[in-house]
């Protein structure tokens, strides 16, 4: 047993930190918040150059063949910088679904381009019913003469407006259980009948869209994997993206803790640095506990998905339940301990606080995942 990162992983962390400090300072983040794109072509090309976009893809598809423990290191660093842009949507959702469910030809067509930064992808999964389970999939895929016709509304879709290809989750058949009959379809940008509307979001570093599907016709070759059996690969994709998100949350929370302790050392009130007072010390200690616990559960979950361990779904839900509460609490405490300055637009804390909240409600919040834990431990 060795529950720590390897030297290579620590090197990856150091490289990533340096890269992001240079390329993704808060001025860069703030500029991207104001624009629909959320990323610049130059920055995206550099991510590809660093090998990040294909980090967890096999080498035969232009990737580096690394695992989710490696990715954890990277995600923590991205969270530290509140990195904007379609990394999660492209690499971990749209692209990853093609990897998990696609045919060799589909993978060959898309993954090398994604890894090279030449194509972006998204996953149109969730709907206005805001459900994370299979029953939430109500968009339909009707069989037609030469393929399928997709109809429905997808909501909370990350970065659909930037995607060259969108993986649409739609129900092809009513099965015995909600998981049966769920299909995955590749829809390319500009498909007739598909409307993509960018939504204003609280966390401006995360771009969410509504995707309208009105009789969108796709060919038979657009089906990813076996027809009507897309839920299993999709669930694997979501589990893995959830672990990655947890890691990003840990990185963000860690940075808030550091910003806050640094501030507490220099900010003077009543003649002493505020970090001298136990009211501040104890809150800072609570923040550290939240951050460290979230890390422990996240690292464990990353290891479990890499190993395909039987307890992986449980480990993932434990991590997301914990991290969802922890990041919000830590970011809120960070604002509190900074006082008024922490509440300003000028200070970076609100970027973290908003990222904490958007992350909390992505892939299921703490309440959802605790219920999932309850099910998985047979309560």
């Amino acid at each position: 047993m060795d529950f720590g990162f390897s030297q290579e992983q620590e090197m990856l962390r150091a490289t990533a930190r340096k890269f992001l400090e240079n390329e993704c300072a808060s001025t860069f983040v703030r500029a991207r918040m104001e624009e629909p794109a959320g990323v610049t072509p130059e920055f995206w090309a550099k991510l590809a150059e660093q090998g990040w976009l294909g980090l967890v893809y096999p080498e035969e598809y232009g990737g580096s063949g690394l695992g989710f423990v490696d990715l954890t290191v990277l995600m923590e660093e991205m969270g530290r910088s509140v990195m904007p842009g379609p990394f999660v949507s492209t690499a971990l959702l749209g692209g990853r679904t093609i990897l998990e469910a696609g045919s060799p030809a589909q993978k060959k067509e898309w993954l090398p381009r994604i890894a090279a930064g030449e194509a972006k992808a998204a996953l149109a999964w969730t709907e206005p019913n805001a459900r994370w389970d299979a029953a939430g999939v109500t968009a339909t895929a009707r069989a037609s003469k030469d393929g399928f016709v997709l109809t429905g509304t997808k909501l909370f879709v990350l970065d659909a407006h930037l995607a060259d290809v969108i993986v649409v989750v739609a129900r092809g058949a009513e099965g015995r259980s909600p998981e049966d009959g769920v299909g995955l379809f590749l829809v390319e940008k500009g498909a007739k009948g598909m409307t993509v509307k960018l939504l204003p979001t609280m966390d401006q570093t995360r771009k969410l869209c509504e995707v309208g599907l009105k009789d969108v016709a796709v060919g038979a070759a657009a089906v990813l994997g076996a027809k009507d059996s897309g839920w299993r690969p999709l669930a694997r994709v979501i589990e893995r993206a959830t672990v990655a998100l947890c890691a990003e949350m840990c990185g963000g929370a860690q940075k808030v803790l550091e910003m806050t302790t640094e501030y507490a050392k220099i900010r003077v009130a009543f003649g002493k640095p505020i970090g001298t007072y136990q009211g501040v010390k104890h809150k800072a200690a609570d923040m550290l506990v939240d951050v460290e616990n979230a890390k422990s559960l996240t690292y464990y979950a990353a290891w479990a998905v890499d190993e395909n361990a039987p307890e992986a779904p449980l480990a993932v839900s434990m991590a997301k339940a914990y991290a969802s509460d922890a990041y919000r609490k830590v970011a809120a405490a960070g604002i509190q301990l900074h006082g008024g300055i922490g509440f300003t637009w000028e200070h970076d804390l609100h970027l973290y606080f908003k990222r904490a909240v958007s992350s909390e409600f992505t892939f299921g919040d703490a309440t959802y995942h605790r219920e999932r834990v309850a099910q998985l431990i047979n309560l």
Binding site: M1, D2, F3, G4, F5, S6, Q9, V69, L257, T261, A264, K265, K272, P273, G275, T276, Q278, V280, K281, H282, A284, A285, D286, L288, V289, E292, N293, S296, L297, Y299, Y300, A302, W303, E307, M318, A321, Y322, T367, R370, E371, V373, A374, I377, L379
Partner: protein, 396 residues
């Protein structure tokens, strides 16, 4: 990163598991979860610890020449996990095994190391801890118990308080002031004190549970030979801090692993009790509470594994070890509160009534758990330590 075990470690796990299955005394019934040995179980627990010792399942990380097995914390972790899964009885001589033994091995003379540790493991000699005083708890360095040199002897006068096991202990880890003119932390010495010496008076102290688990200990001109000093005269603060570090690492670690036993018990309680005609585990609100408890318990386990990894790599555990105590406390107290909430109005019924749930053990462990955030360093002190040592916030 790898959670898997080597074939040797897996074999060790299997050996422990098989042995526990046939060796846990049949008269041991575990419900209610208090990990603190209760007085009525002392004889059973004394025998149990001897059984563990004879089988070589205690003191795994201690050097073999002092009664241990010279194994790593990984084997210790496997042992603790298996004991938790098997719901094995706790060990009686917890303060000896968790604190006195490792400190003597770290600071003792060869004679001391030969004399004490193995008898600690076998439970032939029980240890208690003489740190806290009526005016020195969290502010331990203000302790006033005096030791004055008289020839080859030190003469001890003063008082200790909250001393668990003092009524049955053979030895005490005693901190006493040997140089009152030195700065507070510099004039303290650590003694290995024979509790049978003339002048040592133990008075039971009745506590919130109604029992007298802990005591006041008075010293009236107790003469301790100078060979009983551990780690040098006026060096007691460093030695005592080491003890506390071991407490957090080993004793605390065991408790974190064993929280699983209490969790299983509380879930089992929830399965057989109802609220408003519905089994508690089917109620969405209760499922949330129980799942959170599960997550926090698992979190302690994996955080412990992170700390052990650091130890195995030859590094000192940092944040992972310091947070363990207070997270365990918070989780265990919440667990006990949950048990009361599950029982609802039955939580009011004390042992002795046929209506008492599980014979009233939960009421006892619930009350006992209030001490968790005070003993072994209050939660407030733990938070100060984290803020100052890990986060670098300024001292006063």
């Amino acid at each position: 990163m790898d959670f898997s075990l080597t074939p040797e470690q897996q074999a060790f796990r299997q050996t422990v598991r098989t042995w526990l299955k046939k060796s846990i005394p049949s008269e041991w019934k575990h419900v209610g979860s208090s990990e603190i040995p209760r007085f009525e179980a002392y004889e059973l627990l004394r025998k149990w610890q001897r059984t563990l010792y004879d089988a070589g399942f205690i003191g795994l990380t201690w050097p073999a020449q002092y009664g241990g097995r010279g194994l790593t914390f990984l084997e210790e972790m496997i042992l603790q996990e298996e004991m938790a899964l098997a719901k094995a009885p706790p060990i009686l001589n917890v303060l000896g095994v968790g604190m006195a033994g490792p400190t003597i091995i770290a600071y003792g003379t060869e004679a001391q190391k030969k004399r004490y540790p193995s008898k600690i493991l076998s439970c032939e000699e029980i240890w208690c801890q003489g740190y806290s005083e009526p005016n020195a708890g969290s502010d331990l360095a203000s302790l006033q118990t005096r030791a004055v040199k008289d020839g080859e002897f030190w003469v001890i006068n003063g008082q200790k308080v909250w001393t668990s096991f003092a009524q049955v202990a053979d030895w005490m880890m005693l901190l006493a002031r040997t140089d009152p003119s030195a700065p507070r932390h510099k004039g303290i010495t650590y003694f290995l004190l024979d509790m049978k010496l003339p002048g040592v008076v133990v008075k039971p102290l009745r506590q919130i549970t109604g029992e007298a688990e802990f005591n006041e200990v008075f010293f009236d001109n107790v003469r301790v030979h100078e060979s009983q000093v551990l780690g040098g005269v006026n060096n007691g603060w460093a030695v005592g801090i080491t003890t506390l570090m071991y407490e957090r690492l080993t004793l605390g670690f065991g408790l974190q692993m064993r929280l699983r036993i209490a969790l299983d018990s509380v879930i089992e309680l929830a399965r057989r009790m109802e609220k408003h005609g519905r089994v508690i585990t089917k109620d969405p609100v209760w499922r949330q509470k129980l799942a959170r408890l599960w997550i926090d318990t698992e979190c302690l386990r994996v955080t412990g594994a992170r700390a052990i990894t650091k130890l195995l790599r030859g590094e000192m555990p940092g944040a992972e070890a310091s947070t363990g105590k207070m997270v365990w406390v918070e989780t265990h107290q919440r667990l006990q509160e949950l048990a009361m909430e599950i029982e609802g109005p039955y939580s009011q019924i004390w042992k002795g009534s046929d209506w008492a749930v599980d014979g009233g053990v939960w009421q006892h462990s619930f009350l006992r758990s209030r001490a968790n955030s005070i003993e072994g360093g209050t939660t407030e002190i733990q938070k100060n330590i984290i803020a100052e040592r890990l986060l670098g916030l300024p001292k006063d």
